[in-house]
């Protein structure tokens, strides 16, 4: 199928999902107990103050009206402004988005750099010592709590060896990069386990396919076969899994963000839920949904480019 038309169709398909998610967030967030007035005003608020605040934020407006206003603003790319920070939501999000994206990139980087070779090696040396070591290591990665690993790494590389900052998002790119290394490794450790296992199985499967044997019969060198045939083909399904993880990373790094004190979207979202900062939650989820859908689209397209068998529909 024509790629462009495919993209357009996928974008059109996103609209209902997107729409339903907005409704869902909108309703859900207002269904849960806790009202912004109480959280914003704190312990000492009197009944009158609470009342006044509620009036101000339109707490008593019917839900559909609130939603309507939300949609109307949305059409002007206005996500409203944060109750807590009194700042346009879009600014809040845009401020934190780079951190989250940076973190995601770092995680993917380490997953790829460490996980791919290990997974490949485990598959090549199937049921030999390296395979066992790598598999046990990956199991460890899967079942060690992130915050624990994170704190341990900080203790080791932040405090004892002072190689990386414990927490310094900083202002310059090198500072940002330094700040992202340890969190990237920590989060990658868990994901890597999945990637390694998946890649290993793929390598085992692909090594046994007849096109690899056929390639050998052509007299190609082992290195070329490993790289061009086994690794490349084994990677395809793994990338899909990786992309699923990337999507969930964008919204779910809260623990890493907390441990490493990164000013990312996860922390913002969680804090906003905790303080019932409605517009931030709505805006955040919206941005998140769009990002996830677009990432999915991109992976599908990339996948179809890498694997000609996959048709886009």
């Amino acid at each position: 199928m024509n790629r462009l038309s495919y993209i357009i169709r996928r974008l059109i398909q996103m609209i209902p999902v997107f729409f339903i998610v907005t409704v869902l967030v909108f309703v859900l967030i207002r269904c849960i107990p806790g009202d912004p007035a109480l959280t914003m005003l704190g312990d000492r608020a009197t009944h009158e103050m609470i009342e006044a605040y509620r009036q101000k934020i339109g707490y008593y407006d019917p839900l559909w009206l609130q939603y309507f206003i939300f949609l109307k603003d949305l059409l002007h790319f206005d996500l409203g402004s944060s109750l807590r920070y009194s700042e346009p939501v879009i600014n809040l999000i845009l401020e934190r988005l780079p951190v989250t994206i940076g973190l995601t990139v770092s995680v993917v980087f380490f997953t790829v750099v460490i996980g791919f070779p290990l997974g490949f090696m485990a598959g090549k040396k199937r049921n030999k010592l390296p395979d066992y070591i790598i598999r046990i290591y990956s199991l460890f990665g899967l079942s060690a709590p992130q915050f624990w690993v994170g704190l341990m790494l900080l203790l080791m590389f932040g405090v004892k060896i002072k190689l990386f900052p414990v927490s310094n998002w900083g202002d310059t790119l090198p500072e940002h990069i330094m700040a992202l290394i340890l969190p990237g490794i920590t989060q990658a450790l868990g994901i890597m386990a999945v990637i390694i296992r998946n890649l290993r199985n793929n390598v085992v499967d692909i090594s046994g396919t007849s096109y690899v044997t056929f390639a050998r019969s052509k007299g190609l060198s082992e290195g070329r076969i490993d790289l061009r045939y086994i690794f490349r083909n084994a990677l395809l399904p793994t990338t899909t899994i990786l992309s699923l993880w990337i999507a969930s990373l964008l919204g779910g790094c809260i623990i890493i963000e907390t441990v490493f004190n990164l000013p990312g979207l996860g922390a913002l979202m969680i804090n906003s839920v905790l303080s019932r900062d409605y517009s931030v939650i709505q805006g955040g989820v919206l941005i998140f949904v769009i990002t996830v859908l677009i990432i999915n689209l991109i992976t599908d397209i990339i996948y179809s480019m890498l694997d000609p068998r996959v048709t886009l529909n």
Binding site: T39, T46, E48, S86, E87, L154, K162, P165, S167
Partner: protein
């Protein structure tokens, strides 16, 4: 004026607060910037509409008013007003202002700024600080060095109230420029520091006010937000920050034992209570409440949870406040008596209730863990239920909580506001406990308008005694601000009210 009763705590406060002043060596050179990490960011630095302690504490280094609370937290000292006169009837106060005061942007402070600032505070009746300026009828500034207050009625605590952050002088020109909506990003004022950069949720950077009339040591103060306590500690250990706040109590000793780090609890005007909802059975029964008071073992709580960094409390007024009464009995564990009381109340086999805690508050969680066992020993079953913050508040506002730990942090050493919160039922359902006692409400009202210090003290004594007698709530402890800092830091001052006095702090290279 200050009362004698608070003097002992203030003395202790000033000693501990000005850390390590003895070894003030001239050899070291100062760093450019002092960095501290705290768990939560300020939300709103509008002096009038802010709500959180994290706002007020910082504002204390940004804004100044006519008078200020001393660093020990108990005395009222002159600030921008060098002296003041009070009219005969006590309704007109005339303040004589320091000359040539400038805002941090270099513009001079004028009478118009004063009037604007006060009128704004008086206009915002939804502000939680509104009560402090309730008694003011009007203000005027005959010239740039004189400022006059007209009161509606005689207000004995007017001077302490004037120390509050909502009655500080701010630049009207700046306000007009940015408008009400953006004002939460902070005012332009006259304090030793001004807000240089603020990335919400990430950091707040203060810079030295070049026009400040006094010495200010550090060029910049960086307040980082680091929500995880463990990460804060690691940052201190790695030298990324010079000072951290809200150290978990049980780590204080550990941190202290490390080279180059000092950890301690600064005295705080902070009190925790077990708050019992009188509207829920069986807590409507006074005997039951007393039984609980007898069942809990507060020294153990202080030992385990605070690692000893706290002081047993006896009444609803923190000991850092005026009119605190030492003679009110302290809760004391007596298991037999508690059982007896339960039997009398008709619960010989105990009962069970919901002990509500807010998620993420480790102190609350730890207290709950211990109290659960202590209560179990008299036959009462406490089911610990964790609520996420907003849900907790919702339940709290709708009388849904059975039993929880409340915390009050004072903002002024006058106990009026806390007494209001406990005894003006309509305002807050008596700290949401549902306790209603008209007599106490009346006493509180009397104390508010009484100019005679002794008489006021007497009213407050009565309130405290009744509070104990009715077992309204169970005071637990007066807390401390647990901080830890590197030995490079000298003279960090946080007053018992929590105010940061950044002008004193020195941080060496």
């Amino acid at each position: 004026g200050s009362s004698a009763s608070s003097s002992n705590s203030s003395a202790k406060g000033s000693e501990a607060a000005s850390s390590g002043s003895s070894s003030a060596d001239a050899s070291g050179t100062l760093k450019d910037r002092f960095t501290m990490a705290r768990p939560i960011d300020s939300d709103n630095l509008d002096p009038v509409t802010n709500q959180y302690k994290y706002d007020i504490w910082v504002l204390a280094s940004i804004c100044e008013g006519l008078v200020k609370i001393g660093d020990d937290g108990s005395t009222v000292e002159p600030c921008l007003a060098k002296s003041w006169d009070k009219s005969e009837d006590g309704l007109t106060w005339t303040f004589h202002l320091l000359p040539d005061i400038k805002f941090s942007d270099g513009t001079p402070v004028t009478g118009a700024d004063w009037v604007f600032s006060f009128e704004r505070a008086m206009k915002h009746d939804e502000s939680i600080f509104y009560t402090y300026c309730k008694s003011i009828d009007s203000v005027e500034a005959p010239d740039d060095t004189t400022f006059v207050l007209h009161l509606k009625y005689v207000d004995p605590s007017i001077l302490t109230n004037l120390c509050m952050c909502n009655m500080v002088v701010q630049s009207k020109a700046y306000y007009d420029k940015v408008g009400e909506d953006n004002y939460i990003n902070g005012p332009v004022a006259t304090g030793p520091y001004y807000i240089k950069d603020w990335k919400k949720g990430e950091y707040l950077l203060l810079a030295k006010n070049p026009y400040y009339r006094d010495t200010v040591n550090m060029n910049e103060i960086m307040l980082k937000v680091v929500s995880d306590a463990q990460t804060r500690e690691l940052m201190l250990q790695s030298g990324e920050v010079d000072l951290i706040t809200e150290v978990p109590f049980n780590n204080i000793n550990d941190l202290n034992s490390q080279d180059g780090i000092t950890a301690l609890g600064l005295p705080a005007g902070q009190e925790r209570y077990f708050i019992i909802n009188h509207r829920h059975k069986p807590f409507d029964n006074e005997k039951v409440r007393e039984a609980i008071r007898d069942a809990v073992d507060i020294p153990q709580i202080i030992n385990v949870v605070l690692a000893g960094q706290g002081q047993e409390a006896n009444t609803f007024i923190p000991n850092a406040c005026m009119y605190w009464d030492d003679s009110v009995p302290y809760p004391k564990r007596d298991v037999e008596k508690a059982k007896e009381l339960l039997k009398e109340a008709g619960y010989p086999n105990g009962f069970s209730f919901e002990y509500c805690i807010v998620s993420g508050d480790s102190v609350q969680e730890q207290i709950a863990t211990i109290v659960k066992q202590q209560l179990a020993e008299v036959g009462i079953t406490a089911n610990i239920v964790v609520y996420e913050n907003a849900a907790f508040r919702d339940k709290y506002a709708n009388n849904g909580l059975d039993f929880y730990v409340g915390q009050w942090t004072i903002q002024s050493n006058d106990p009026t506001s806390i007494a209001d919160y406990w005894f003006i039922y309509d305002q807050s359902d008596a700290y949401m406990s549902g306790y209603k006692n008209d007599q106490l409400t009346k006493l509180n009202e009397l104390a508010k308008h009484e100019l005679d210090d002794n008489k006021r003290a007497e009213y407050f004594k009565q309130m405290q005694e009744t509070f104990y007698k009715d077992a309204v709530a169970i005071p637990i402890y007066w807390g401390t601000f647990p901080i830890a800092y590197s030995d490079k830091v000298k003279d960090f001052v946080q007053s018992p009210l929590g105010y940061y006095r950044f002008q004193y702090v020195k941080c060496y290279k």
